[in-house]
Every structure is written in structure tokens, then in C-alpha cells.
């Protein structure tokens, strides 16, 4: 009887110790650094026919710096600027600024980043903020979904998107 009680108490104490130690270890891992770093800067040319909000898109540039943690949360920014021509033939620069708050690395080497963005159509109207942003970025190009609208993919012809 005594041996059983002793064994039970001993096992309980070990379990308690392990249970208390493990969560603190997990929190530390999540708080220190992200597991993935996504960096990019480059440019590309849209294929013929690409358009967004009636603007015929010609090309674009982008800059990305984001760090994804093991929990899927992320910190960072995305900036993209697309050039195009309006229906009346005026040159127009569309600018998207995004705050990245979560992300995942995909099996094909690309990353999907989520956050909130501001869209400036560059036509004199005030920029629109608070738009949901989804970024799919990889070695071949970037695709943005702003406020639920997916923009044409910008094929990358210059620069990098590096997920490491």
C-alpha cells in the first residue's frame, strides 16, 4: 500500500513538473523569432489584357519584408505599385501598401501572406484603407487580392522573392 502511494505521488510530481515546464518552452519558441523570412524586391510586366478597376495594367514593382512565426502569425510589409492606362488614356499608378499579420509557406516554394492594406488608385480619389489583403508571392511572381478582388498576377521578370 505504502509503495503504491509513494509511486503514485512520485509519478504525479514528475507529471506536474513536466506539465509546468513544457508550456513555458512553447511560449518561448513562439515569441523569439519567426520560422520563415520572406524578402523580395523586383518588377514585372503584365501580359496583354491585364486590367484592374478598368485600368489597363502595363507593369509593376514590389517590395516585401515579412517574418512568419511557427504559429502562423507574421509581421511585415508589402508594397506594390502597378502602372497602367485609364479608359481616357491617362497614365495611372496604383499603389498598394499592406501590413502583414499572418502567413504560410507553401509546398511549391511560394508564400501566402495575409493582412490589411491601403489601396490608392492614383486617380485623385482618396486612398481606401482597411482592405483585406492576401498576397501569394513566389519565384515566378506575385498575386494580390485586395478587398476580395484578385488582381492579375504580376510575373516577375526582375529581382527576387526569397523564402528562407
Amino acid at each position: 500500500m505504502t509503495k503504491r502511494t509513494l509511486s503514485a505521488l512520485f509519478a504525479t510530481s514528475i507529471l506536474l513538473a513536466v506539465a509546468l515546464a513544457l508550456p513555458s518552452h512553447g511560449n518561448q519558441a513562439a515569441a523569439v523569432v519567426g520560422n520563415s523570412i520572406v524578402t523580395g524586391a523586383g518588377a514585372g510586366v503584365f501580359p496583354a489584357g491585364a486590367s484592374f478597376n478598368s485600368i489597363e495594367l502595363a507593369g509593376g514593382t514590389f517590395g516585401i519584408g515579412a517574418q512568419i512565426s511557427s504559429t502562423g502569425s507574421a509581421d511585415g510589409t508589402l508594397e506594390a505599385q502597378f502602372t497602367g492606362t485609364s479608359l481616357i488614356g491617362l497614365s495611372q499608378w496604383i499603389t498598394i501598401n499592406g501590413w502583414i499579420t499572418s502567413g504560410t509557406s507553401n509546398p511549391d516554394g511560394s508564400v501566402t501572406l495575409n493582412g490589411t492594406s491601403t489601396l490608392d488608385m492614383g486617380d485623385g480619389t482618396p486612398p481606401t484603407g482597411g482592405l483585406a489583403l492576401v498576397v501569394n508571392a513566389g519565384p515566378t511572381g506575385i498575386t494580390l487580392t485586395v478587398g476580395g478582388t484578385t488582381l492579375p498576377t504580376l510575373p516577375k521578370s526582375d529581382g527576387w522573392v526569397i523564402n528562407e
Partner: protein, 233 residues
């Protein structure tokens, strides 16, 4: 007989008390280990420093464009940067860091217009008055041009390192800064700036810089108003 029973019970209760003490010790050790780990976790103890420090724990991220002064006309350049402390970072003044610097001039430049280097060192200054998102500060990132599969501008003698200086002055990117220099000194936390080229860049044109003491855990609230400056084609 009674005495015997008592003497039998005394060791039993002693053993129980001993075990309770052992359990308490185990719990105390486990808890204190967590406290010790917490002390080195960024965000718990990383103090707001008043100068760029190789020991300050922080993250630097950024993406955007800057205007590079050039003749006959200025050049547009995109950048993407990341800097963070490695796991097990030791605050010993070496400023070890991980990350990457991407910089792409959107025009032909004789010396080369691409920069793609890993970050090896970083110094950080956290803002004493961070934004509601907990961001703000300054950072210097040092990239290594001597590693394999990197790109740096051509030069004689060859550039061995890249020095990037960034400032996070607002949540909207307004007044944020990105500057880049190329140096003939090897990468180190205390790079001799006399060996570096003139700085390119300055106030960012679009995009933003974020400097924070630790990962936000996805809780940062993005600005919901104007962030992109008006641009002229």
C-alpha cells in the same frame, strides 16, 4: 502495540512529507526555468535603448520604393528587408543577426543594379515612444557580399558588405527612411563607414518600415486610413 502502530505511521507520514517536498521542488525548478527563459525572450526584457545597439533585441521588416539621385535623371528602386536575432542570441556586442536585403534599381546602372545579400549583423534602437502598434525605431543591417549566390554592385576594390539604415517613424510609412551603402570592409557590426560609398535612398517614396521589439503574434492593427503617398508618374 499502540507504540508499534505509531512508530509504523511516523515513517509513513515522513515519507509523504518528503515526497511533497520533492514535488514542490520539481514544480519550483520547472517554474523558475520558465522565468529564466522568459527573461531572455524578446519583448519581456528588451529595454528601449537610446542608441543603435548590437545587443538590443528587435525585428526589422520593410518593403517599398525610394528615389535614387542620379544623372541625367533620378532612378526608382524597390527594396525588401528583414532582420532579426537568431535563436539563442547572446548579447555580447557582436550584433549577430539573420535576414536578407533585396534592392533593385529599376534602370540600367553600369556598376550593377541588384543587391541580394544575407544579413549577418544588426544594430537596433527601439523607439521610446512607439506607435499604438508597438513599432518604431531605427536599425542598421549589415549584409555580406562575399557569400555564394549573392549580388552586389561591381567595384574595384570589390565591395564586401552592404550597410542598410532604416527608420520607422510612423505606422503609415510617412517619414520612414531607407538608405543603402556599399562597403569594401568585411561585414561586421562595427563597420568602418569610411570604406562605404555615398548613401543611396532617403525618405521612402512608398511602403513602410516596421521595427518592433518582438513578434506581434499577429495582433498588430494596420492603419485604416491613408498610407500611400500621392505619386506623380
Amino acid at each position: 502495540m499502540r507504540d508499534n502502530r505509531i512508530t509504523r505511521r511516523v515513517p509513513h507520514s515522513r515519507a509523504l512529507w518528503s515526497l511533497a517536498a520533492v514535488a514542490t521542488m520539481c514544480i519550483a525548478v520547472a517554474a523558475s526555468a520558465g522565468v529564466v527563459q522568459g527573461r531572455v525572450t524578446p519583448g519581456f526584457e528588451a529595454p528601449a535603448s537610446s542608441v543603435l545597439s548590437p545587443d538590443t533585441i528587435g525585428l526589422a521588416t520593410g518593403g517599398g520604393t525610394v528615389t535614387v539621385t542620379a544623372v541625367p535623371q533620378n532612378i526608382l528602386a524597390s527594396f525588401g528587408i528583414n532582420g532579426k536575432r537568431p535563436t539563442g542570441f547572446v548579447q555580447n556586442g557582436t550584433g549577430t543577426a539573420l535576414g536578407r536585403i533585396n534592392y533593385d534599381k529599376h534602370a540600367q546602372v553600369a556598376a550593377g543594379r541588384h543587391v541580394n545579400v544575407p544579413v549577418m549583423f544588426m544594430t537596433v534602437e527601439l523607439s521610446a515612444a512607439p506607435s499604438p502598434n508597438g513599432t518604431g525605431g531605427k536599425a542598421q543591417l549589415v549584409g555580406d557580399c562575399t557569400q555564394a549566390n549573392v549580388e552586389c554592385p561591381n567595384n574595384t576594390p570589390a565591395f564586401q558588405s552592404v550597410l542598410v539604415y532604416v527608420e520607422d517613424n510612423s505606422d503609415t510609412g510617412a517619414n520612414d527612411k531607407f538608405q543603402i551603402q556599399f562597403c569594401t570592409d568585411p561585414a561586421s557590426a562595427s563597420l568602418n563607414q569610411a570604406t562605404c560609398s555615398l548613401a543611396e535612398g532617403g525618405p521612402i517614396r512608398t511602403g513602410q518600415i516596421q521595427i518592433r521589439p518582438s513578434p506581434s503574434g499577429g495582433t498588430a492593427m494596420a492603419p485604416t486610413h491613408v498610407a500611400a503617398p500621392r505619386l506623380q508618374p
